[in-house]
């Protein structure tokens, strides 16, 4: 039995530790989608440049150098086409981890080309005088969305360098400067063209920035919702699994009951005499059957608790519950001459808890305390009010828990070695059930123990507020 329990607990530990490969599929498709979005935006930008140039020259009658501007626009359109085709190529091929890395690098290169093109456009349309210089902001937002933080800051640096090159080269006459101010003059606030230009940049910058940022935050919220749903789904799956275990355990118990009854009948001598050797073997069989029945009962308890969807709590008196638990316990403390001491103030407020489960909790903890305490030991139960919770402590002068076992002591099917040595009988589920019940009520449980000296289990339960009846 103990070997089986050890195997169970090892399996459970292994399951908890196993790292699952990260869900790259979601990030991949997200990235590809956003790069598509960038390429689409760029088509719009190409059109936008054409429109702005036409508008500036034919409506405002600012004579911008059309040829260089159109050529740059064609250049942008060309590289956008290349990226568009490359993107289609990536989507056609099976995506993998490395292709995501490549896609990110390509996105970075796209943004760099955009920065370079914008700088060129600005050079031919007024340089530092052109309010469209603030359009660099969009590329920074796009970079922050698509790339890592480090890559984004890198792009910001590139943008700054390009800006400095543009402004300083025009300042030092390394490259020619196209002057806007000769059209505009000095009273800027009175100048229609200037106001129009600034307003155009201002309004488009504001709305486009919000559009870009909200697209991302909306996606984030959607993802959060999906995560919540997935989490709920997982909890439900776990609950269904416990229900399944419940049904299996029931079938087991029915058969075990029949086996035990038949064996009992022989042992009690109701079907005739058996010789010593026969009796010995049958008694061994019966003992193992009883042990198995306890195991199935504990498993049933645990699965039943885990399978429940809700907790029905009522205000309960701790003294009553503990007294009932002590009565129902299978093991008798006086059989080992163990003194059971209860230190519960009569003024202690009631707890808000589920009656059956709370009884189970105390039965398990007190049974453990008695089971693992040698003759003439002592078990003490204390309770006190702590804020809006009740703190309960169950301590014993038993064999204690070795330091290395303490972190695992609440695991399912886990039994410390010294416990196994002292008592062959034990399922390793008692404390798991206790922990589950405490957590079900929103409380915490912990243990302080020293091997050979004893253990003290402490846990919190919610206090019942006066006059509250659920």
């Amino acid at each position: 039995m103990n070997r089986m329990l050890n195997n169970f607990s090892k399996i459970l530990q292994g399951l908890k530790a196993s790292p699952y490969p990260k869900k790259l599929a979601i990030e991949e498709t997200e990235l590809i989608a956003r790069i598509n979005w960038l390429i689409r935006l760029r088509w719009i930008a190409v059109l936008g440049v054409l429109l702005t140039v036409w508008f500036t020259n034919n409506v405002i009658h600012l004579n911008l150098p059309i040829l260089p501007l159109i050529l740059i626009d064609v250049f942008i359109a060309c590289y956008n086409l290349c990226f568009f085709l490359y993107d289609k190529y990536i989507m056609f091929k099976k995506t993998s981890i490395t292709s995501v890395k490549i896609a990110v690098r390509v996105a970075g290169f796209q943004i760099f080309l955009d920065l370079f093109s914008l700088t060129l456009l600005l050079h031919f349309s007024g340089g530092v005088e052109n309010p469209f210089i603030f359009y660099f902001i969009f590329h920074m937002i796009i970079a922050s969305i698509l790339l890592s933080a480090r890559a984004s800051y890198f792009q910001a640096t590139i943008a700054t360098i390009l800006f400095i090159i543009l402004v300083s080269f025009e300042f030092y006459d390394i490259i020619p400067h196209f002057c806007l101010t000769k059209y505009i003059g000095t009273d800027l606030h009175k100048n229609r063209f200037y106001i129009l230009g600034i307003s155009g940049v201002f309004i488009t910058t504001i709305y486009l920035s919000v559009y870009m940022a909200t697209a991302i935050s909306k996606k984030l919220r959607e993802k959060e919702e999906l995560l919540d749903m997935a989490n709920d789904e997982l909890k439900e799956q776990d609950r269904l699994k416990s229900e399944y275990v419940l049904r299996v355990a029931h079938d087991l118990k029915a058969d075990m009951a029949a086996v035990q009854s038949c064996l009992k009948v022989v042992i009690e001598g109701m079907v005739g005499k058996v010789n010593e050797k026969q009796m010995d073997m049958i008694q061994r069989a019966e003992r193992r059957t009883v042990s198995l029945i306890h195991f199935v009962k504990d498993l049933l308890n645990l699965s039943r608790i885990k399978a429940r969807r809700d907790v029905q709590t009522t205000p309960l008196s701790l003294q009553e519950i503990i007294s009932q638990a002590i009565e129902t316990m299978r093991i008798r403390p006086d059989s080992k001459n163990i003194t059971l001491q209860m230190n519960i103030p009569s003024s202690l407020p009631m707890v808000n808890a589920d009656k059956t489960n709370l009884e189970h909790l105390f039965i398990n903890l007190i049974t453990n305390a008695v089971k693992y305490t040698p003759q003439n030991g002592r078990v003490q139960i204390e309770a006190e009010e702590k804020g809006n919770q009740i703190l309960v402590k169950i301590s014993d002068t038993g064999i204690g828990i070795p330091g290395s076992d303490i972190p695992k002591i609440f695991d399912e099917f886990y039994r410390a070695e010294n416990a196994q040595a002292m008592e062959k009988d034990g399922t390793g589920l008692g404390l798991a059930i206790v922990k589950y019940i405490v957590q079900m009520h929103g409380g915490k449980i912990w243990v302080e123990s020293e091997e050979g000296k004893g253990s003290c289990f402490s846990f919190t339960l919610p206090k019942a507020s006066a006059g509250m009846n659920k």
């Binding site: 009951a257 009854s261 038949c262 429940r308």
Partner: protein, 134 residues
Amino acid sequence: MPTKAKILMVDDDLDFVEATKIMLENKSYQVVTACNGQEGLEKVEQERPDLIILDVMMPKKHGFEMCKELKSNPQYAQIPVLLLTAVGQNIPLSTYTVEMGLHTEADDYAEKPIETDDLVARVEDLLQRQKRAN
């Protein structure tokens, strides 16, 4: 203590029935058996037992249903019924719950597996109560 009381056991688990029958006969009770609810009701009419031990999960008619029928029949309503089951309390998806049992007015419930002494004690207790009621 009634030594010749007749007990009807209705359960489809033949091994358990056999073992329990031996246990009860050892205590001088007379035991008749049935293996499903339908047969159980027939045997009640035939044998007129003093106590019925009823298992919940059976084919053709399960324990709760049979108990309900018994208790709604004035002829048999006074016969004490002990519901025996391997089913525990509060199983959410199970078709059988103790709450269901509570509504069927069985006189006592016990969970399998049950110790000989416990079973006999409950049987005797029920029979005593019945005697006092009459």
